[in-house]
């Protein structure tokens, strides 16, 4: 699929994306781009709208307004074309609990129409890389959260998609797997044509891994850019991403007040 034709070189473009679940919008008029060769970090507090944005990108929820474009394809009207170009790791590892990782990956590879030889070869390599051999034929219901997350990562990487959409992909992983994923992602985008949309609220990870970051707060993009560019915008030139984030989301004062009030108890 990596070599499948595209309409636009841009892995992902959001234009005025709005997602709502019946109440106030979870994402409100969001516009951003993931450029070729880029790992774009989407940062935000809980409920900021990161997962809703990602669900609109991968076609789980339909936008209330705005447009999503994956290499020029629209997930709403061109679902199959869009989804065949995306590898996705969801925030929660809710899979087909009754299937084993082998059965699940065979289903995913078949739906993605992977040629048998390449599915077998890549499957074997990824299973070995993530050390899934022991759990390969056990039902997913019996696996730990970390192992489920590894299965999801293998499923996302199996077809070498030109766009990876990862929602908190390092959740539950052991240090070895965290390192493996980080190194894999850096190499993944090195060819210059692929892109990664990476959601996290772990600032250290975003700081070390992402080419650019966007800070989402209550559904609105507060700031976007490279870390040096964001530092320039903040009051302190040597600020960490966490300090920039808390400053932009106006949460630094709230955190201090909350700690003070707890200490008084």
């Amino acid at each position: 699929m990596a070599s499948s034709p595209v309409r636009s070189p841009l892995p992902l473009a959001l234009d005025g994306l709005t997602v709502a679940y019946g109440g106030p919008p979870a994402v409100n008029g969001l516009s951003l781009e993931v450029r070729p060769g880029e790992i774009y970090g989407l940062l935000g507090s809980n409920g900021a709208g990161k997962s809703s944005t990602i669900k609109a990108v991968v076609g789980i929820v339909r936008p209330a307004a705005g447009r999503v474009s994956v290499f020029g394809f629209d997930p709403v009207t061109e679902g199959v074309e869009t989804k065949s170009r995306v590898g996705y790791v969801p925030e929660t590892s809710l899979l087909y609990e009754s299937l084993t990782p082998r059965e699940f990956l065979e289903f995913v590879a078949s739906v993605r129409r992977l040629p048998p030889a390449s599915a077998a070869e890549r499957g074997q390599a990824l299973v070995a890389a993530f050390r899934l051999e022991e759990e390969y034929d056990r039902p997913i219901a019996t696996l730990s959260n970390g192992t489920r997350q590894k299965v999801l990562l293998v499923a996302a990487l199996l077809h070498q998609p030109p766009l990876l959409v990862l929602d908190e992909p390092l959740n539950h992983l052991d240090p070895r797997a965290v390192r493996l994923v980080k190194d894999l992602l850096v190499r993944y985008v090195a060819d210059g044509g692929r892109g990664v949309l990476f959601s996290t609220h772990t600032m250290e990870v975003a700081e070390r891994l992402c080419t650019r970051v966007g800070i989402l707060d209550r559904g609105v993009l507060r700031a976007e850019g490279t870390l040096p560019a964001l530092r320039e915008r903040s009051a302190h030139g040597d600020a960490t991403l966490e300090e920039i984030f808390l400053g932009l989301t106006e949460e630094a004062g709230e955190v201090r007040a909350a700690v003070d009030s707890l200490e008084r108890l």
Partner: protein, 555 residues
């Protein structure tokens, strides 16, 4: 903490369970579009609606039985070409009613218990600072709430209607039977859930393990087959009953008397007509007394066991059964349609609720095939047997077709991110329905053909109906899919989506029945012209269904 706290906790847990049964968030479903503020009341309403439908069906069965009991002499005169005493007939009807009540409640339990296990509502309660007794009570009350309305329907309506039909003593005498049927259904649901957790859900993948899982599922499904099996077996049962009761007291009849539910079903007849109503010797009468006491004791033991067992099952972690065979770690791929079929079969092999839907038509075909060997069974020839067998296989396979859509609830949010066209999804599931039909038809064909040696007649019927079965499943699944895309995901199972399942099953059943109707209008024979007409209607239905139902669905 006491009963009041347990009741309150179970109420909260039941609300969560209702939400999960309808929306399946813990299984990977996403929030439906539109207003989300009323999700909980809507879930409660839909569970209540499904309970009401199950209760309505149980009430309908009870009402039907009461009508048969009221006019038993008339029914015997018109329906049976042999002598059958009123008391024996009444006992047979109550046996059937108790058997159906048990099977139907058990089956309802099977539909919801996987949700109870996967929703983790009981483990969440365990983290609260509550004493053991309160937790045990809360779990037991929660379990009883799953069955409350249907169980109450059986417990209250049966004695009332039997009393109205036969008399007060008979109405009172049926109470032990209904109490035992309900208690056994509740216990069997939980026992099979434990079995499911231990042997099926946690079983490894691989060919040998899959065969073993299906073997377990067949063993386990056979008793639940009673729900439908009785309809198939009823004529043979009454014929055998007439034979046994016509010969006076006998050891075989005494044996039948100690079998559940016949023992307790004989009590209303004995209460209404005295000990001479049935051909009982003193041994037989004693056997009824002892067996009744044993069954009631067993029912009490079941209820006492449920108190603690619900909590243990709710906490049970999934074990991994079987050892790990050395195997390569590559992947075998197929096309998207076949991958849906294989995935559904694999999921069904670890989910008794779905396995039951696959095995029921096959077991029914097996029963039909075996019955053709029973002494005195119809020897009306290959035509009528083939027509009956094919009709039964087609109707059963198609009736449960929509339920296979419920598999899509599992990991729904993830499944929607895969590039699987709706057309492939529908065709994959329709292929499963067609495969079930073919296996069921093959079983009955194989069994009956050993006796009748008319394979071509059977094959002609099976093939003539095949396109109609495919058309019916496309109609049903296409309608479900449209509803899913418009209103969110309906969980099409008995416990939470019975309304949707019935709405789409009706047009499906009409599509399946039309070729048979054409055949019957043409005389019902296996002449080339009649079978040709049947095949023509069948192919025309498929030709219409695919473009109409799948034309509008793409990706």
């Amino acid at each position: 903490m006491g009963w009041r706290a347990a009741l309150r906790l179970s109420g909260t847990a039941f609300t969560e369970l209702s939400l999960q049964a309808i929306y399946a968030f813990r299984q990977g479903n996403v929030l439906p579009g539109g207003a989300t503020g009323d999700l909980v009341p809507k879930a409660r309403r839909r569970v209540l609606q499904s309970k009401a439908m199950v209760s309505g069906l149980l009430g309908f069965l009870t009402l039907g039985a009461a009508f048969l009991l009221r006019d038993s002499s008339l029914v015997i005169a018109h329906a049976f070409p042999y002598y059958l005493s009123t008391a024996a007939f009444d006992t047979g009807v109550v046996t059937a009613l108790l058997g159906l009540d048990l099977a139907f409640l058990w089956w309802t339990g099977l539909q919801v218990l996987p949700t109870l296990l996967s929703s983790s509502v009981l483990p969440v309660l365990e983290t609260l600072p509550l004493d053991e007794r309160t937790l045990r009570r809360a779990a037991a009350i929660l379990y009883l709430r799953l069955f409350d309305l249907p169980a109450l329907t059986v417990l209250v309506l049966t004695p009332v209607l039997v009393a109205a039909a036969v008399g007060l003593p008979a109405g009172l005498a049926v109470i032990p039977g209904v109490v035992a049927a309900v208690a056994f259904a509740l216990a069997l649901s939980l026992l099979t859930a434990r079995f499911f957790v231990a042997r099926v859900q946690g079983a490894r993948g691989g060919g040998g393990s899959t065969v073993l899982r299906w073997a377990y599922l067949v063993l386990w499904v056979i008793p639940a087959f009673g729900l439908f099996g009785f309809v198939t077996l009823a004529p043979a049962f009454f014929r055998e009953l007439a034979h046994l009761t016509g010969a006076g007291p006998s050891a075989p009849f005494d044996l039948l008397l100690v079998a559940f539910p016949f023992t307790l079903a004989s009590l209303p007849s004995l209460a209404a007509g005295g000990s001479s109503a049935l051909p009982l010797g003193s041994l037989g009468l004693g056997a009824v007394g002892v067996a009744s006491a044993v069954y009631l004791g067993l029912a009490a033991a079941c209820l006492a066991w449920l108190g603690g067992a619900v909590r243990r099952v709710g906490q049970a972690p999934f074990g991994v059964a079987g050892s790990s065979p050395p195997s390569p770690f590559g992947l075998r791929t197929t096309g998207p349609v076949r991958s849906v079929l294989v995935k559904d079969l694999r999921i069904a092999s670890r989910n008794p609720g779905y396995a039951f839907l696959i095995l029921l038509p096959v077991l029914d075909a097996f029963a039909l095939g075996l019955l053709s060997y029973a002494p005195g069974s119809s020897t009306g020839g290959a035509d009528s047997l083939a027509l009956g067998a094919v009709t039964s296989a087609a109707l059963l396979a198609t009736f449960f077709g929509p339920a296979f859509f419920a598999i899509e609830v599992l990991a729904y949010s993830y499944g929607r991110t895969l590039p699987l066209a709706d057309r492939s999804l529908v065709l994959g599931k329709a292929a499963l329905v067609v495969a079930i039909y073919l296996v069921a038809a093959g079983v009955v064909l194989g069994l009956v053909d050993l006796r009748l040696r008319a394979p071509l007649v059977f094959l002609a019927f099976v093939l003539a109906e095949l396109p109609a079965v495919a058309a019916a499943s496309v109609v049903e699944l296409g309608l479900v899919l449209r509803r899913v895309r418009r209103k969110g995901l309906p969980v099409v199972n008995l416990y939470s989506g019975s309304w949707t399942a019935i709405l789409v099953a009706v047009p499906g059943l009409i599509v399946v029945a039309l070729p048979f109707t054409a055949l019957l209008l043409d005389g019902g024979s296996s002449s080339t012209a009649a079978l040709g007409l049947m095949a023509l209607v069948s192919v025309a239905e498929l030709g219409l269904a695919v473009p109409v139902l799948l034309g509008g669905v793409g990706s």
